[in-house]
């Protein structure tokens, strides 16, 4: 008798996984379009397809969020629980905003922010030829979707190996996108290379950490790691080293000190739409993964990592805020601001309170809300950045912003609003976000950290103010002044929605907070 090796086909929860599949399918279809559709139709097809895929995925996510009970899916690789749906929704919203900014072609004389042919050598005749032919890379849309797909897996991974695979899925397209700026291409390519090298290194270190955790727990599943910690068996040094090294990869993606070095260069070199997407979506996905890894798998080590993150948070806020003071380039300034915000988010992570007696706002909800407000302001600010131009390119020097309050008060007012939201001034969404994470940290027993964070917010308020002062109180200089170009409906919609959301979430955040709070329970 012959024994036939029986392989049971895995059962997949197609309905629950549909948002992921739609994004992946959209990306693959986009690759196909590149191959078969005529060149002049690609832009319309690709941008419409990308927008459609994101919207459909968002609809399916909300549908599942409302209907489905939290459960593990795809052979327990993914945990489809409240936080997953929350972070998927956040990622898809930022994905849609990114599609809109990617698709903008009205600025800079009918050209997108991306190189007309990324393969050409900067300054070569081939490049000039591609420019003259108005070539453009419509592959950016599938790349965006692939990246989004990886991020969504990252946010829902229930298994440390899946975490690693997801990091790679979403990082590779981002490395590519970073190098595709139309202006200052050398800078952009250099940024891409830096990002790639440092990112690979961080991933490798994380992988080592994951393998150590495997050695400790004998499994990749978060539940298995948690059980092993609770049981108390196994080698403690192995566990702690594993935890430390795993956190390196996650902190790198968040942009926390001391793994922040890449942020300013990459933010500055990448095309602004990509920077906006990275600043928001990468951070959201990485924070989601960080929360899951540390709250679910390593929850038993809380006393160890709370202190670790508290120290990292202080260093991150301090470095981000003080370095930003010295910046004179708006994108670099926002890069350091992104670092500072990573610190504020970590303040919330340290608190680690779950809903319960007297706690109506669990840490997860507070952090998700913070990310949401930060994302809105970031997309708003970057859409303004793409609009302010000089000599064909973006005018990123703060010099160019002088006198904007007089020449274009509406845009200056909107930018002021976003800056105030970043700074956490009341009546803007950013304030409620800060309040939420500070409260959860205080309730978690880290009152001193809140005090430090508040001092840092004062420092941080200054560089945002620098932009405000330049716009309203300084006179334009003919040599350097930028002009606001009128974008298409794509950018306008991002700008207006961001502004409205900043105000609405600043004044009546109750509804959104309720949604987030109801969905703050991890499963394992």
């Amino acid at each position: 008798m012959i024994n036939v090796l029986e392989i049971a086909a895995p059962t997949l929860e197609w309905g629950l996984l549909s948002p992921l599949l739609v994004i992946l399918g959209g990306a693959c279809l986009g690759v196909l379009i590149e191959a078969v559709a005529p060149r002049e139709m690609r832009y319309v097809l690709q941008s419409a397809l990308a927008a459609l895929a994101v919207v459909v995925a968002f609809g399916l996510t909300t549908l599942n969020w409302i209907q489905a009970t939290p459960q593990l899916a795809a052979v327990d690789l993914l945990a489809l629980d409240g936080p997953t749906y929350v972070f998927w929704a956040l990622l898809l919203i930022s994905g849609l905003a990114a599609v809109a900014l990617f698709a903008e072609r009205a600025l800079g004389g009918g050209q997108s922010a991306f190189a007309s042919s990324a393969a050409t050598v900067p300054g070569s005749p081939l490049e000039r030829e591609a420019d003259a032919l108005h070539r453009e890379h419509t592959e950016i849309f599938p790349l965006l979707l692939f990246s989004l797909f990886g991020m969504m897996i990252f946010a829902s991974a229930n298994d440390s190996l899946t975490v690693f695979v997801a990091v790679e899925i979403f990082s590779l397209p981002l490395y590519l996108l970073t190098g595709m700026a139309r202006r200052r291409r050398l800078l952009s390519q250099e940024a891409a290379l830096k990002y790639f090298l440092l990112g690979s290194l961080a991933s490798a270190i994380m992988l080592y950490g994951i393998s150590l955790l495997y050695g400790f727990a004998g499994g990749f599943k978060f539940a298995a790691i948690d059980q092993a910690i609770t049981a108390g068996a196994g080698s403690m040094p192995l566990l702690l080293t594993g935890m430390l090294l795993t956190s390196v990869g996650l902190l790198f993606k968040i942009g926390a000190v001391p793994f922040h070095i890449w942020t300013p260069d990459v933010y500055m070199g990448a095309p602004s739409p990509v920077t906006a997407f990275m600043a928001v979506a990468t951070k959201t996905a990485a924070v989601a993964a960080l929360l899951r890894v540390f709250y679910v798998a390593l929850g038993g080590l809380q006393w160890n990592w709370q202190l670790l993150f508290a120290v990292v948070a202080v260093a991150t806020m301090l470095l981000g805020s003080t370095m930003a003071l010295a910046q004179n380039d708006i994108k670099r300034l926002l890069a350091y601001s992104a670092i500072a915000h990573a610190g504020f988010i970590l303040v919330g992570v340290v608190g680690a309170v779950a809903a319960g007696e007297g706690v109506n706002l669990p840490s997860v909800a507070a952090i998700a809300f913070y990310l949401f407000t930060y994302g809105i302001a970031t997309f708003g600010a970057f859409s303004v950045i793409t609009m302010l131009r000089r000599a064909g390119g973006e005018a990123n020097s703060l010099e160019a912003w002088k006198g904007l309050g007089r020449s274009n008060p509406v845009i200056a007012t909107l930018m002021t609003l976003f800056m105030l939201s970043f700074a956490g001034i009341p009546l803007t969404a950013g304030f409620v976000g800060k309040l939420a994470v500070f409260e959860s940290a205080w309730v978690g027993g880290y009152g001193w950290l809140v005090l430090v964070a508040v001092v840092m917010s004062v420092i941080a308020a200054f560089f945002y103010l620098k932009v405000v002062v330049a716009m309203w109180f300084q006179d334009a200089d003919e040599e350097s002044v930028g002009t606001v170009e009128t974008p298409s409906l794509w950018t306008w919609s991002v700008l207006v929605v961001s502004a409205v959301a900043t105000l609405v979430l600043g004044l009546i955040p109750g509804g959104v907070l309720t949604l987030l709070t109801d969905a703050a329970q991890f499963i394992r």
């Binding site: 007297g358 706690v359 109506n360 009546l427 800060k434 500070f438 205080w442 309730v443 002062v469 309720t514």
Partner: protein, 504 residues
């Protein structure tokens, strides 16, 4: 549901401000003034209703997760400060009718009016809020219009002054934010997260926590109602901004400091207040004397007025923490009178400066002979500042002293020196600028006396000050209400009279 009068009161100026940002041209001024007058009518109405005991409270759940409420209410003190705010704003607008017309102005008068209305809306919410988060948000929101008011209109170094103002205020405000987060933590630990001041009162917390929270709030308020040491932003801001902005700054905004000390610090943390009182009283005494001495030595008219305010804020803080019914109600009444009195002084001095083109005291001399009405008004405003009997400010200063004397006779005796110094610096300023021979410069620049617009600016202020001086009772009753309530909540009692009744 009854009409939400308090919400409407706050919304009218806010809407007005948005309208003014949109409207162009000279008509905007009138529209803005119309909004300010409408607010004034509503504010007076709210005050009268409060005095008659009509319930005005509004309370809607706002951010349920953290227990924040959109809750507005008026007590006696709130009503008086609302009254003061709605009176001062149209007065300031009238005084700054031509503010955008100087060549060095960056922005038009429309922007000034719009920012003023926005500031008014937030200030009104602060005075009406009965939820700490709402209070805090409005408190911080006032910084935005104020920053632009200082930085946009006034002297050559106004941007530096605006920045200094913002640094101090943000530092104070963010320290308070820690305390606000702490309030949440404390009420959450007690099982019911809430930001309502009434819920916070009586919530159990450890002595140390209460003291930290008290310190957080008090620091922010001490920056706002500038107490000596944390005050340096005020003289700079007053010197560089227009007199109208200074009026709003000192008259309305700085009152938030003393208002908050009474409404939050004292009421919510009575034990911590009692613990800190000896130090605060000394601090207040230092403020009174320091402000007075600095005013005495000031060479700049606007700096002088701002230093007198620092001295007066010392009196108010002293009255609040002396913790007798009389001294507290005196302090509350003082807030109102000081608002009107400083406004008169700032604005009249502003009229002088605008004519002469210099704010240096030595640049004036013999103004009396060229502009007698202006000089007379200056004298009246000055006499109010030095609390001459017959002025409202006398009644309030006397009440603070009389009340505080019952508990702290020595400190009160020392603080009295401040009153004497007030007479000296006011009269010295008056004498230097107005008497003596008419200097050439004055004769050249000060060519006309007060215009009818300028008279309309100062008349209501002076009339109110004199009316409050002779008939303080109706207003004082409202202040007394709050004082009695505060004493009851804090659980303090007035000390028994120490002098035995004589034999009858």
């Amino acid at each position: 549901m009854p009409l939400p009068l308090l919400t409407i009161l706050a919304l009218v100026p806010l809407v007005g401000s948005l309208v003014l940002f949109a409207v162009k041209g000279p008509a905007a001024r009138l529209i803005g003034y119309g909004f300010a007058l409408t607010t004034a009518v509503l504010g007076v109405l709210a005050t009268v209703l409060q005095a008659r005991g009509v319930p005005l409270a509004e309370d809607v759940a706002w951010i349920p997760q953290i227990g924040a409420h959109y809750a507005l209410d008026l007590d006696g003190m709130g009503a008086l400060l609302v009254l003061m705010t709605v009176i001062l704003v149209p007065v300031v607008m009238l005084a700054e009718w031509r503010v955008g017309e100087q060549p060095e102005s960056r922005w038009s008068v429309n922007a000034f009016f719009a920012l003023t209305l926005m500031l008014q809306a937030f200030a009104l919410i602060v005075f009406m809020a009965s939820d700490i988060l709402l209070f805090y948000m409005a408190f911080e929101a006032t910084l935005i219009p104020t920053y632009f008011l200082i930085g946009g209109f006034g002297g050559p170094k106004r941007q530096a002054a605006a920045l200094k103002f913002l640094i101090f205020s943000l530092a104070g405000g963010l320290v308070m934010l820690v305390a606000v987060a702490g309030v949440y933590a404390v009420t959450a630990a007690a099982g019911n997260p809430s930001f309502l001041i009434n819920d916070l009162v009586g919530t159990e917390m450890s002595t140390a926590t209460a003291r930290w929270l008290f310190a957080g709030f008090f620091f922010a308020f001490a920056v706002k109602a500038p107490m000596a040491g944390l005050h340096t932003w005020l003289p700079d801001a007053a010197e560089q901004s227009t007199p109208g902005t200074s009026t709003l700054l000192v008259g309305v905004l700085d009152k938030i400091g003393t208002f908050g000390m009474l409404k939050i610090c004292l009421v919510a943390f009575p034990e911590a207040s009692a613990w800190a009182t000896p130090a605060i009283l000394i601090w207040a005494m230092v403020s009174v004397l320091y402000g007075a001495f600095m005013a005495f030595g000031a060479k700049d008219l606007l700096r002088l007025v701002s230093y007198t305010s620092i001295s007066h804020f010392g009196f108010m803080v002293f009255g609040i923490f002396a913790l007798t019914t009389q001294s507290i109600s005196g302090s509350i009444f003082y807030m109102l009178n000081h608002g009107l009195s400083t406004a008169a002084l700032f604005l009249v001095v502003g009229f002088m400066i605008r004519r002469r083109g210099s704010q240096h005291i030595d640049a004036f001399g013999g103004v009396q002979k060229v502009a007698p009405v202006l000089t007379g008004v200056l004298l009246l405003a000055g006499l109010s500042a030095l609390a001459l009997p017959g002025m409202g400010s006398f009644v309030s200063e006397f009440l603070v002293m009389a009340g505080a004397w019952q508990r702290y006779p020595v400190q009160t005796a020392i603080i009295t020196v401040g009153m004497v110094l007030a007479a000296v610096y006011v009269l010295r300023m008056y004498k230097t600028t107005t008497s003596g021979p008419v200097t050439d410069q004055v004769a050249e620049h000060i060519t006309h006396d007060l215009s009818s617009r300028e008279k309309a600016v100062v008349a209501p202020l002076l009339i109110l000050l004199i009316v409050f001086g002779f008939v303080p009772q109706p207003v004082l009753t409202m202040a007394d209400d709050t004082a009695v309530q505060t004493m009851a909540v804090v659980g303090a009692e007035d000390p028994a009279p120490q002098v035995q009744e004589g034999n009858r």
